[in-house]
Symmetry: C2
């Protein structure tokens, strides 16, 4: 079943996964296309972002958002187009970002949507990825949490990921010594050849501790951390005095398990170092400014990014599986419907 103008396909969370997500947990259903109420607009979702955090939302415990309720359509971060409007502020044909859910259609009041003015030189999908939450996350973690100083050493984990690859490039532009850790020779080559990152570590093929020793001869001043687990232990073992570890995510823990070595964490004490989580929502007041800066970099060809687009809402389980096996390259999106025309 593909996209329809009368039906609304929805992924429903039926059961909370303990480990990996499969068809027991997420099931696709279909209801009638919703009708916008007074003051609302009808949006056709075009792109659905599939971030690692989506797995976290499925847990029983609240995360930075309330836990996804069982039996209801999965939350989803989407880019869509207004197809019917009861609000003159958002005419038909306007592209909007919103929390549109893992579904084909949704209705919402205009105040809950962010209208977009896509530049013709930039792919539409970039507005739900590099120029959006990923870009702001990279910027906030690097500038606000890591507090970079030129010449210092920054290590980025999940470096070929949607946020990590931006952090690597923004860090290099600040004259930091950037080391990117990614899984696989292809990702590392992409970081070196296309993103201009001098030093990479392929954690699937190389000894991370030994490579860090070789590539960070002056120790580690900053970590942009997406992974957690033993890799974080290796990083902590090499931090310098007053190091800053920006915790963007700890994907190693999302499936429920994982430990950190208390011995490695003790390095925070002996190095008077700081490990700090941050949420992009605390930085939305900088959104317009940062998005404009990033768009300018993209148009100048100074910011490389890759968007991994799978076609079809039905590919959500595949997309999640890819994410947790590191098979995606860059931001993972699903394309639910054509960019133009219904």
């Amino acid at each position: 079943m593909t996209h329809s103008t009368t039906q609304n396909r929805q992924w429903i969370l039926r059961e909370r996964p303990q480990g990996a997500v499969d068809e027991r947990h997420l099931q696709m259903g279909s209801v009638e296309r919703p009708v916008p109420a007074a003051g609302e607009v009808l949006v056709r979702n075009i792109y659905l972002l599939v971030p690692p955090a989506m797995r976290l939302w499925m847990n029983e415990e609240d995360s930075y958002v309330p836990a996804q309720p069982l039996g209801e359509p999965m939350m989803g971060i989407t880019l869509g187009i207004v197809e019917a409007s009861h609000d003159p502020a958002l005419p038909v044909g306007t592209y909007v970002n919103g929390m549109g859910g893992c579904q084909d259609w949704f209705t919402a009041p205009a105040a809950q949507l962010m209208p977009l003015a896509p530049h013709p030189g930039v792919p539409l999908a970039a507005y739900r990825s590099v120029l959006d939450v990923q870009g702001l996350t990279a910027w906030a973690g690097l500038h606000e949490v890591c507090q970079p100083q030129a010449g210092q050493t920054l290590v980025v984990t999940a470096a070929a990921g949607s946020v990590g690859s931006l952090v690597c490039q923004l860090g290099a532009q600040l004259d930091l010594h950037v080391v990117g850790i990614a899984g696989g020779a292809d990702k590392c080559r992409w970081l070196r050849e296309d993103c201009g990152i001098a030093a990479t570590i392929d954690y699937k093929a190389e000894d991370v501790g030994a490579r860090l020793a070789a590539l960070c001869p002056r120790g580690i001043d900053m970590v942009f951390e997406n992974v957690g687990g033993p890799m974080l232990d290796r990083l902590l073992e090499r931090i310098n005095d007053r190091a800053r570890i920006a915790l963007c995510g700890m994907v190693a823990s999302y499936n429920g398990g994982g430990t950190q070595s208390a011995h490695a964490l003790m390095r925070l004490v002996t190095k008077a170092a700081r490990m700090e989580g941050f949420l992009v929502r605390d930085h939305f007041h900088r959104y317009a400014e940062v998005a404009a800066k990033l768009q300018a970099l993209v148009l100048e060809g100074r910011l490389e990014y890759r968007i991994d687009i799978l076609d079809g809402l039905d590919q959500l389980p595949v997309a999640l599986e890819n994410l947790f096996h590191g098979r995606n390259l860059g931001v993972q999106l699903l394309r639910l419907s054509p960019e133009r025309g219904a």
Copy 2:
């Protein structure tokens, strides 16, 4: 063998302990009393501080100080009295703080020693405990790292310890809701009855998670952390948005083992919270100011403290053992020689 005017007993680190310290690792030897060179003074150690970190110094890996070398006298933080002087700045009879080692006597240039002017209303031992490193550590962790705001909730672990008990009291004086976690009914009673801390948790007898839920109905804004391990996991599970965790130590890791739950650490991300190590050495520029404030509080009877004094240099292994079993109440000191007269 007791203190002598001709011999200098010394604890020598013979072997690095993996777990607990015993006679294989630390052995007492004796050499001739040292003679001060030109510009040096001879100091008779009176009090030797036995902090939990002493165990950490014995590990092969450098901590916040270089690792203790094997075959040499153990580093030690002492208060002593000048018994011979080749420097007019430190006449005979001056009390001094210094890194005098786990031994009876040492020589040093005056510049390496801090002369004391003990107030007659304050016990001498307080100048190598509550009014010294412990006081400055408590003050720096509370003010600089926790950044307290009146009405917020502060949880202190090892709350009956040398630093923790000061943090509890200083926190209560800032109108924080203070919850102290300590091991044993006696320690908890002391915190409540003598230190004026309303809420305590006896981790040896009570379910820490359940008690935290009851005693911190508005969640946890600040943690002054000395312990690590499962107790820290329980604390992380209850932190509020933008919580601050001041890592003073993680005594659970000093013997080499211990893990933290990655799931609990992930709360740092979802709460945009900060876990920050700190070292008292970074705050020595505030030493005089903070020591004066604390001495005033002691003289006004507004700062309760306990000093656990064992008599004799030979008691070092016992003192270490007591520390790691939580048998000490307050700062652990050894008295090596009389306060006055040789």
